[in-house]
């Protein structure tokens, strides 16, 4: 091992000191939380209502079963959102004046659906369109509820992709055009591959949010995990099932969030 410079020794000592302080402060905070909360007068009641072992054990299998529904809804919504989001983003970037109405439509679409509360869109489309008199199975809440999610989330994804497209310098497009590529090909082979790559982390965040918003579909009937937890809550007058549902959600969203962070870090390193 080569001789350490004074600077290296100094830095190592600084690092060690920082780690010690971080460890002590973390332990102190956790100890305070763990020791102090149970001392509050209502803790026993809160524990019985929210962290009730017996209720947890009784309801957890049912919650897991209901979670399959969430995953299924997510899986069929996600590709549709990606496709529609991309289409709207491209529509907003059309430069041919003849396509102006399409561009206008895309702008109105993103403005409206980003501005509306998701739950209102779900009610409106989930109850409203089937109410027009569609026959079964075309009035299913699964179809129209999913469509509501797709419409809202596509608006967000479209904006994210558009910001990616706009972050690609115009000289790229001009260079592609001067090489003889058509406008469409320039978009497809030059702009989009760069743009989409840049916004992957931002889109990951949206899909993590979607994972949770899938639960909103329960408002129009489907019994997914959130609704199942609500049924248990009502039957047992106990909020523990919601804690169980939260744990199941976390088991999926935390890895997804970490992965998004990892991608983001990798990207910022690649750029610097």
């Amino acid at each position: 091992m080569p001789q350490q410079t004074r600077r290296q020794i100094f830095e190592a000592r600084q690092r060690k000191r920082a780690n010690t302080i971080a460890a002590i402060s973390t332990i102190a905070v956790f100890a305070a939380i763990i020791l102090l909360i149970p001392l509050t007068p209502g803790w026993e009641n809160v524990k019985r209502s929210f962290f009730n072992g017996a209720v947890f054990a009784k309801t957890f299998p049912g919650l897991l079963e209901a979670f399959v529904m969430d995953v299924a809804i997510f899986l069929w919504c996600a590709p549709l959102i990606a496709a529609l989001g991309l289409a709207v983003a491209i529509a907003r970037d059309l430069r041919n004046p003849a396509f102006y109405p399409l561009r206008l439509f895309a702008i109105a679409y993103t403005d409206i659906f980003r501005g509306l509360p998701v739950i209102l869109v779900i009610y409106l489309i989930g109850f409203g369109i089937p109410g027009l008199g569609l026959p079964r199975p075309w009035n299913s809440p699964y179809i129209w509820g999913s469509l509501a999610l797709v419409l809202v989330y596509s608006a967000y994804v479209a904006e994210v992709i558009r910001s990616g497209i706009e972050s690609i310098h115009d000289s790229q497009r001009n260079a592609a055009l001067s090489l003889g590529l058509s406008g469409g090909d320039a978009m497809r082979f030059v702009i989009l591959p760069q743009a989409v790559r840049r916004v992957v982390p931002a889109n990951m965040n949206l899909f993590i949010a979607l994972q949770k918003d899938v639960a909103l579909l329960s408002f129009i009937g489907p019994v997914e995990i959130f609704r199942q937890a609500g049924v248990y809550k009502s039957l047992m007058a106990n909020f523990t099932p919601y804690v169980g549902a939260a744990l199941i959600f976390l088991a999926l969203t935390i890895p997804a969030t970490r992965y998004a962070d990892y991608l983001m870090n990798k990207q910022s390193k690649a750029r610097s």
Binding site: R48, S49, I220, G221, S234, A237, N238, F239
Partner: protein, 269 residues
């Protein structure tokens, strides 16, 4: 001297609330705070105005209060959701009545009074479903697509009484259940009979009551109790009041006054 003033104060206190077991056990001394839903529905509370004493639960509340020694002017009303009623910690009501069904699991977390009403369950549907061949027989009901209010005991009852072939769809409140029915997403829904009567007559466009499961039909019938904080000191007094009301026939009288005749609804075979 001090002894005499204390004694006098005690005498005064006892004369003010003569003969009540509820003294000192309510949130505010001398006042009974009753909670109801927001909004409270017909026929339980008329026009969402429980202070009028009109509607079954409003009338029962005032009768129970009178039995416990609270005059009509000593009853105040608050509104809570179901979740607020069962949340841990201090409650802002003495008793809460909004068709809470008594179940053993719920009893572990909160206190219930003895039941003040036992409800039959009824099948709410639309005329077009009836025209489509649905009959008041369990075998015919199994093949329907069912809905229910997720916050009620109708959910386990549905499995108990009917065991539908397809998983039922569940909703947050009556309004959403009827919206789904109007959209043709569900064929039928299970409600307590008074609520079903109201929804079919007033809310649904072409509502129909297919039939009822009489209360003695299911193993644990839907019995409504007043909800109180777990370990409430008031429970004894409330129980005594309700028992005495039902023994004197007053409770049945109130029921006859506010509940529609339920005899016209056919029984389900």
């Amino acid at each position: 001297m001090k002894f005499w003033t204390t004694a006098a104060a005690m005498m005064l206190a006892t004369t003010a609330y003569a003969d009540t077991c509820a003294t000192g056990k309510t949130l505010t001394d001398g006042v009974l705070t009753v909670a109801t839903g927001n909004p409270a529905y017909y026929p339980w509370v008329m026009d969402d105005a429980p202070e009028s004493g009109k509607g079954f639960e409003a009338a029962v509340a005032y009768a129970v209060a009178a039995e416990m020694g609270f005059g009509a002017d000593a009853v105040t009303w608050v509104r809570t959701s179901f979740d607020q009623a069962i949340q841990p910690g201090a409650k802002d009501f003495d008793i809460n009545m909004q068709q809470f069904s008594i179940t053993p699991e719920r009893e572990e977390m909160v206190d219930f009074s003895v039941p003040y009403y036992t409800s039959a369950m009824a099948v709410l549907t639309t005329k077009s479903v009836v025209d489509g061949g649905a009959m008041a027989e369990v075998s015919s009901l199994k093949s329907l697509i069912w809905g229910a209010d997720a916050n009620t005991t109708a959910v386990p009852m549905l499995q108990d009484l009917i065991a539908p072939e397809k998983d039922p769809l569940l909703y947050d409140d009556n309004a959403d259940v009827t919206a789904a029915m109007q959209a043709g997403q569900i064929d039928a829904a299970l409600f307590d009979l008074p609520t079903a009567l109201y929804l079919s007559a007033v809310v649904l466009n072409d509502g129909a009551l297919l039939g009822q499961f009489p209360a003695d039909r299911s193993e644990n019938p839907d019995q409504f109790g007043m909800l109180m904080e777990e370990g409430s000191a008031l429970k004894e007094c409330v129980d005594a009041a309700i028992t005495s009301l039902s023994e004197s026939g007053k409770l049945a009288e109130i029921e006859a006054e506010w509940m529609q005749a339920t005899t016209g609804v056919p029984l389900i075979k």
